[in-house]
């Protein structure tokens, strides 16, 4: 009786959310699978990151750097002790960071060593110093908090910007230099450049009195080239120099900036799409002007600019917009958006940026994924909105989309670098985990839980990866991507102190259960209750919705003292979990995992193969005679085709094997009207009537490569034909 009552109470809770006796508030519980991850300072995880300005990786993790240092210094008899000491210092750095201390790696490392040194022997400080000496990079340390996405992405973006700006600056300096050289060379060769005072100045003070500079100037003036540079060209070069000097996109080194004093270079970092779009529209005319000036300058320096042909071409340069590959040489723009509080107008502008293929890199940061289920004012949770935007961007096909939780960013170094190098818009949808609504969880764990539970999976759409979805879309960074939910082994001690090992799936419900806003939808059972009618979430989701449930879904959670509790889940939560699972399925299909089209194709092919296999084995084995007959038929066919050109046909017309002519001029000297050269300067018979048969035979005899064939004489009345025919015989 008791069990039944409890069961119907549980069903009632499942359907309506009304708690009965024996069901309590969830309080401060965490998902069971997070049991081991309580104190992050003692866990050697991917954070903190070092924003390095040198070396290969833009932001290596402290763990990786310390491991590399240990590999080189922990050798010999002292290895184990040195290892322990260095790891202790690393842990102390994490403690300092958690307490809120900011600074670079060098500073925090020495602070940590200083804090640990008293009370331990000098070998700790020594080991720490040696480790620090081996680590070649330095930079500010980043924790996983709300500012991580922006600081990390901005760091990578700035490194790419440096590279672009340096390349652009070098190019501009070279162009300015070479254009100025052209003008100066022209001046030097002109009359003004060869006057006496200039010549005297160019010789130098030591030998000034050895020459009569007036006479020199008179002599050189007479040698001035008769065709000086056209004034139009000089004017064009001056205009080009003006544009290149005054351009506001990159700062030029001091020597050249003297001409463009007072011109500040543009800034490239914005905090809203409106500002970024406005800046882009304002700068576009200048950008087109600069791009055009660079192209014309390159042509001008190479001597290939022809005003009559190229002026019209360049007059309408850029009217069709500039291509992304061209734009990728210029610095691009970085915009940081706070997705949790973005209004509709900004979202429209964001889509405008992405659809317009503008070279703008956008960080769309979401701090809070979930919205309370009953909140009518926010029908779409921020997480859902973020997913929508990512999908829309992928649908535009030319946007690089990176969708990941902040905890995953250290593993995305290569992808982030590619996104920053991509010639076109890039969208980073990052969940920072810093909502603060999760009870007792650090930002890192919240973000990691979101990724693990598929609430915020990691995916990448890279348009530069290839022509099709298989090469562009990547889902494989997610744990166990072929499953609905990742499954982990969980061990606990039961009431009889026996070790029990189960496999638990980390589902959407596990993620949301830690959030206080979902407390009304959860009910904690008293320990020791009957659990025979309960089932885990992943099993329950596999059944159809809508029927009276025989079993009630539940999750395992633990409290601060690491005791295990069972928590019931109501139908609304299950609906959310179901939707999350379906969204994951559609991502899987995009990523080629359990793709329904592929499966159907495979099924069809398999059925066809089986059908043909069955048919083949049903026929009697082909008789040897039949096979032979078939083979004979094919060989007959082959022989039936006659050998082409077994012998060259002898023709009656005179002809030359033009392709083999070696241009020796023998025949054209004999009769330039009869024999002529074609476009490749090889001879052919241009006009047979323009010469005699005698000349044909003579040409055939003198031809070095014997490719002239006189054929039969055209004119029967020509004298000496008999002897000529005899001479022509070898050339048939």
């Amino acid at each position: 009786m008791d069990a039944n009552a409890t069961h119907s109470d549980r069903v009632a809770f499942y359907l309506t959310g009304r708690r009965a006796e024996g069901m309590r508030e969830v309080g401060a519980l965490r998902p069971a699978l997070q049991a081991r991850y309580r104190d992050l300072t003692s866990l050697r995880h991917d954070f903190p990151l070092v924003l390095a300005t040198s070396g290969d990786a833009a932001a290596p993790s402290l763990t990786a750097l310390v491991d590399a240092a240990l590999a080189s210094i922990a050798k010999g008899a002292d290895a184990e002790r040195a290892r322990r000491q260095v790891l202790r210092v690393e842990q102390e750095v994490r403690v300092l960071l958690q307490q809120g201390v900011e600074g670079t790696l060098a500073k925090l490392w020495s602070d940590a060593t200083a804090r640990l040194a008293p009370g331990r022997d000098a070998s700790l400080a020594e080991a720490a110093r040696r480790a620090r000496a081996t680590i070649a990079v330095d930079g500010p340390l980043l924790r996983c908090d709300a500012t991580l996405p922006e600081r990390l992405l901005q760091h990578v973006w700035q490194q790419e910007q440096q590279r672009k700006q340096t390349a652009l600056r070098e190019r501009l300096v070279r162009l300015i230099q070479q254009l100025s050289d052209i003008l100066r060379a022209d001046f030097e060769r002109s009359g003004a450049g060869r006057d006496a005072t200039r010549l005297k100045a160019s010789v130098g003070s030591g030998h000034g009195d050895l020459f009569d500079f007036d006479a020199m100037s008179r002599v050189l003036a007479r040698a001035t080239p008769r065709e000086p540079m056209p004034e139009a060209r000089r004017e064009r070069i001056r205009r080009l120099l003006g544009v290149l000097d005054a351009q506001p996109f990159v700062a030029l080194p001091d020597e050249n900036a003297a001409r463009a004093a007072g011109h500040a270079a543009y800034g490239y970092r914005f905090d809203s799409c409106a500002a970024a779009l406005a800046a882009w529209r304002e700068r576009l005319p200048k950008l087109i002007e600069l791009a055009r000036a660079i192209e014309v300058a390159e042509l001008e320096i190479d001597g290939r600019y022809h005003a009559e042909r190229h002026d019209a071409l360049f007059a309408s340069y850029g009217a069709n917009g500039l291509e992304p590959d061209l734009l990728s040489h210029f610095p691009d723009v970085f915009v940081c958006l706070d997705g949790t509080s973005l209004d509709a107008a900004e979202q429209t502008r964001l889509m405008e940026i992405l659809a317009g293929e503008l070279p703008i890199k956008v960080l769309y940061r979401v701090d809070d994924l979930l919205a309370a289920l009953d909140d009518a004012a926010a029908p779409t949770s921020p997480g859902l909105r973020c997913r929508q935007i990512a999908h829309m961007a992928m649908g535009l096909n030319q946007v690089y989309v990176l969708h990941a939780a902040a905890s995953h960013l250290p593993r995305c170094g290569e992808r982030i670098a590619r996104a920053m190098r991509f010639a076109g818009p890039s969208l980073f949808c990052i969940y920072s985990g810093a909502s603060g609504a999760a009870t007792g969880q650090s930002t890192y764990l919240a973000a990691a839980a979101a990724m693990e539970s598929r609430a915020f999976p990691a995916f990448v759409y890279d348009p530069s990866g290839g022509p099709d979805w298989a090469s562009r879309f990547h889902l494989d960074d997610n744990p166990q991507p072929e499953l609905d939910w990742p499954i982990h082994r969980f061990e606990y001690e039961d009431a009889r102190l026996q070790r029990v090992s189960v496999e638990l799936a980390f589902t959407f419900v596990d993620f949301a259960a830690g959030d206080a806003r979902f407390a009304p939808h959860l009910a904690r059972l008293t320990p020791g209750s009957d659990e025979s009618d309960l089932a885990p979430i992943d099993e329950m989701l596999l059944r159809e919705a809508g029927r009276l449930p025989e079993r009630i879904p539940c999750v395992r959670m633990i409290d601060e003292r690491d005791r295990l509790h069972t928590v019931l889940v109501d139908e609304q939560m299950m609906r959310k979990a179901r939707r999350s699972r379906e969204m994951w399925h559609s991502l899987q299909e995009l990523g080629g995992v359990h793709n329904s089209h592929a499966n159907r194709l495979l099924e069809r092919e398999r059925a066809a193969w089986e059908a043909s296999h069955a048919a083949a084995s049903a026929l009697p084995a082909a008789t040897p005679a039949a096979i032979e007959a078939q083979a004979a038929a094919t060989s007959l066919l082959a022989e039936a085709v006659p050998e082409p050109e077994a012998a060259a046909p002898s023709r009656d017309d005179a002809y030359i094997e033009t392709v083999r002519c070696s241009t020796c001029n023998e025949c054209t000297q004999i009769n330039p009207k009869m024999f002529a050269y074609d476009a490749n300067k090889q001879a052919y018979i241009a006009d047979l009537k323009a010469g005699t048969y005698a000349q044909l035979v003579e040409a055939a005899e003198s031809c070095q490569v014997s490719v002239i064939h006189p054929g039969k004489p055209q004119n029967e009345n020509e004298p000496g034909l008999a002897e000529l025919l005899v001479r022509a015989e070898p050339f048939r």
Binding site: E170, V173, R174, Q177, E255, E295, L299, G303, H306, R309, H310, L313, Y317, N320, E323, D325, L326, E645, V659, R660, C661, S662, T663, C664, N665, E666, Q669, A679, N680, K681, Q682, S702, Q704, V705, S706
Partner: protein, 332 residues
């Protein structure tokens, strides 16, 4: 950039196309029937097909019938002194690496007086295309034996027949350590001559092409056995070398598949006696070019030149007695 932007497409449309005659300057004064005419035709075809800009192309030669070549090309040219075609060409290339430099030299100019420059030009491997017009005689000076004349050649300087075995230019070039492209052509098979000239132009490095050439004036019968019997010409073909067209293959049936990267096989073929091998004997695209080592990315601005000069002068400057003046001031 493989994909062209819209501007580049439009620019290419506007480019002027030159015909073969646009590269012809004057009327060649070679004898009628001279093989140099065939080489001239092949090179002019190359210029037209590759769209070489006349102001960016240079032909450098030494002395000899071969070295009349630059006069008949409407490009830049340099007709230099005897045996020094290669050093002049190397100088042009070092100071203007953007120009396409071709070298026309003869068997006397290259293998006799210019032999030293020849060896070292191969070692430097600058991006030049060298044509050795080998007619196996000194033609311009009216018949004297050259290093490549066959033994027993009767000439003005060897009335009883030459006494030395002929030099084999192919084995010599294949013996130099840094060699990157060696090919042989004959002037009476214009199709193969053009293909080899084209491959030599496209190779980045020193492309050495020995063109066996007829001299109808002084050595009229020398090449008759090979002219009249196509089987005594061995055509070398390979996926990485020449491809033989069907029509040519029917006439020249003596073919050999030879991998241009196989140096030992190339040396064996080059040392062979009876058949004349025609094709690419050796081709290694990876050998670095000397001008690449010397190229600097620094821009030669006046400031850079000034600072360089000052640094050099400072090494030899006699400094005024600043030290003594200073101590004197301190003492005061």
């Amino acid at each position: 950039m493989n994909r062209m932007t819209a501007t580049e497409c439009l620019l290419e449309m506007c480019e002027e196309h030159l015909e073969l005659e646009d590269y012809q300057s004057g009327v060649p004064r070679w004898c009628t029937g001279c093989g140099d005419n065939a080489i001239l035709a092949a090179v002019q075809r190359l210029c037209r097909d590759e769209g070489l800009r006349p102001e960016k192309t240079v032909f450098v030669s030494g002395i000899g019938c071969s070295s009349r070549f630059p006069h008949y090309m409407k490009t830049y040219g340099f007709h230099g002194i005897h045996g020094r075609a290669l050093p002049v060409a190397e100088g042009v290339k070092m100071s203007r690496p953007d120009l396409d430099v071709f070298v026309n030299t003869g068997d006397g100019d290259c293998c006799s007086i210019g032999a030293a420059h020849w060896i070292h030009a191969l070692r430097y491997n600058m991006n030049l295309t060298v044509f050795l017009h080998d007619n196996q005689i000194y033609g311009l000076t009216k018949m004297q034996a050259s290093p490549t004349s066959p033994i027993g050649t009767k000439s003005n300087t060897t009335p009883r027949g030459s006494m030395l075995e002929a030099l084999n230019p192919l084995t010599v070039t294949l013996g130099v350590q840094n060699v990157s492209f060696v090919a042989q052509a004959v002037d009476w098979v214009p199709e193969l001559l053009y293909d080899i000239v084209k491959a030599a132009y496209h190779h980045r490095g020193l492309s050495f092409v020995r063109i066996v050439q007829r001299c109808p004036e002084w050595m009229p019968k020398l090449h008759d056995p090979w002219l009249h019997d196509p089987n005594r010409v061995q055509v070398l073909h390979h996926a990485r070398g020449l491809q033989v067209s069907a029509a040519l293959g029917r006439v020249y049936r003596n073919q050999l598949e030879h991998d241009p990267l196989d140096l030992d096989a190339a040396r064996r073929i080059a040392s062979g006696n009876d058949a004349i091998p025609v094709g690419i004997l050796y081709h290694d695209p990876e050998v670095p070019c000397y001008e690449d080592f010397k190229r600097s990315t620094l821009l030669r601005t006046p400031a850079l030149i000034r600072s360089g000069l000052q640094a050099q002068f400072d090494k030899f400057t006699v400094w005024p007695k600043a030290a003594e003046v200073e101590t004197a001031q301190q003492a005061a």
